[in-house]
Symmetry: C2
């Protein structure tokens, strides 16, 4: 015997009966479709409230062949990074998703992505209406996603001519360089790694452009790149060593990201090079640690939550576009958006 009172689930049928309507009419009211008289609509809405009716997600998904889910794909290592950059992008997307009535399903993938084997569950099960892919991921995965036919946008990464959203790296870097120049610096070095990553290369371009505009036409001996490694604290440290051992005496260093900047400052500290007195340092990203580094790091803030928000909004736009201007949007090549940045001046400059 079961003595527990189980609240019987209120279905669309109950609402229909209560409002003297058919389930189809109720459905139309819920979905704002078709023709329903104001009167009936009012009745139905009233019944819905009265009965506390909430549509069953599974049922409507099954019937309408949607899922009401958005997938968010991210590399595992991008999560386990000490810096929650992508995490915050995810949060931004999650936050925005509420407004559009989607749930966001997170899927982390390994760095050594193998097609088939590591395919995210939400892709295999086609349990999403659209997908946001954040950060650099395997091309295989991207091809797989494209093949699936599920609409998607990339965030903070580019690949082929897939739609993407990115930081305005070039302009932000330009601004950083301008700032350093305005502070009277003349010998400015750029430290970077993984120059094949679009974001990095754009930052480098911004740097070069800024220097060029200031009359430094040849920046080649100012640029230090670790081509084989990613832009981490360690590579920043290493390039710091390389830089000083090369005999160069820059008065300022612009790093491809904060991690490298912090690594660089670590090297400087260990070698009694005073920051900012002897050399000013500027990073990129404004990670958590930037505020707490010693000295606190001047850097370019990226609005991470906004980043995610924008991604979700862009995706829903694609999903709702009934094919009409969407195709033209794609074809015109403006399938790209940028997120604004802001130079945050702290004590490292």
């Amino acid at each position: 015997m079961n003595t527990v009172k189980v609240k019987k689930k209120v279905t669309i049928k109950d609402v229909a009966d209560h409002a003297n309507a058919s389930t189809s009419t109720v459905s139309m009211v819920i979905n704002n479709k078709g023709y329903v008289s104001d009167e009936k609509r009012k009745d139905i809405l009233h019944s819905i409230k009265k009965l506390g009716y909430v549509p069953s997600a599974s049922a409507r998904n099954l019937a309408s062949n949607r899922t009401n889910n958005i997938g968010f794909i991210l590399r595992e290592s991008h999560f386990t990074l000490s810096e929650p950059f992508y995490t915050r992008i995810f949060l931004g997307a999650e936050f925005e998703s509420k407004k559009h009535n989607y749930y966001v399903l997170l899927a982390t993938i390994s760095d050594t992505y193998k097609k088939e084997e590591d395919t995210p569950r939400l892709l295999k099960e086609r349990n999403v209406d659209g997908i946001i892919i954040a950060g650099k991921v395997s091309g295989e995965l991207l091809e797989e996603v494209e093949e699936s036919g599920i609409p998607f946008v990339l965030v903070d990464y580019q690949y082929k001519s897939f739609p993407y959203i990115s930081v305005d790296n070039r302009n932000a870097s330009l601004e950083a360089v301008r700032y350093l120049l305005s502070k009277g610096h003349t010998e400015i070095s750029f430290l970077g790694a993984d120059p094949y990553h679009p974001s990095i290369s754009e930052r480098l371009e911004g740097f070069q452009l800024g220097m060029l505009k200031a009359g430094y036409s040849d920046t080649s001996n100012l640029v230090f790149l670790d081509e084989d490694d990613s832009p981490t604290l360690q590579t920043g440290y290493n390039l710091g060593a390389k830089l000083f051992k090369s005999g160069k005496k820059p008065t300022a260093v612009f790093c491809a990201n904060d991690a490298m900047a912090i690594g660089f400052m670590k090297y400087a500290e260990q070698h009694k090079i005073k920051i900012p007195e002897e050399v000013a340092v500027v990073g990129f990203d404004d990670v958590e640690g930037a505020k707490f580094s010693s000295p606190p790091l001047t850097t370019i803030r990226v609005f991470k939550e906004q980043f995610g928000e924008l991604a979700l909004r862009y995706l829903t736009e694609i999903l709702n576009d009934t094919g009409k201007d969407l195709s033209s949007k794609y074809e015109r090549g403006n399938h790209m958006l940028t997120v604004p940045t802001e130079l945050i001046v702290r004590e490292s400059t």
Copy 2:
């Protein structure tokens, strides 16, 4: 005309036909239920693979009245905290969820939770089979969740006799105190805030117990509490001021968490109090910033991902328990688990 080739979705019917079976038999194979001969099972599995069949989540959820989702409820501010403590717990849960074939839906709630109004969508829509609630949240919400009848566990928080998982705060604090004592410290202060939070009070108890065991029976003038505020960087700073202005000269300070410890160190730095020479500092949590503070902070590491993992595992256990030993589990009061910790010694001690 639509010339795009749309791969027709493979359904259970297709598999059944292909394997010369009925859909019910296929279903049984998929769900590992009922009686199916080895032969037929083999055929069916083969057909599934051959056709690339993947069951539709919506359909099976509708039919079986499950959702295959786990809700993860978290306060907004716990996400926007500069420290991704709960974020990493979430990740741990998400990671573990794959093994159990659940999707994790994140729901953030505002700090000023209002029943009805702010009820997470996943609760309203009953779109989850179970719920993980992380961190301190409004009692109203907890009551609401309980009322919903959806199984849930609390993480890093306690309320009434609801099942929960927490850090072994007491023992960890005890260990920290022991460590400080072993380093020869005698005058050890405790800095805390929000002492009504179970975690904080447990940490304080651990501290007191440790001191007691070492012969310091009266710790009351060693404890500095900000009763009205939460344990933030700012309160750590404030209590630092209060501590030194009180004329006390502790040789070591144990803070209720890292944020406070870092705030305290900030005060110390500004007032030329040398750490660890003049006063050693120990925190709790091992947040990202702890490694980068100056000096790097000795602290108690909490395994956040493991925390989330455990929560999810615990919840699925509850979900799978068909009521049998579950009830006894509840009634016996052992509806509680703890996550291990580790003392991380850095340069602040």
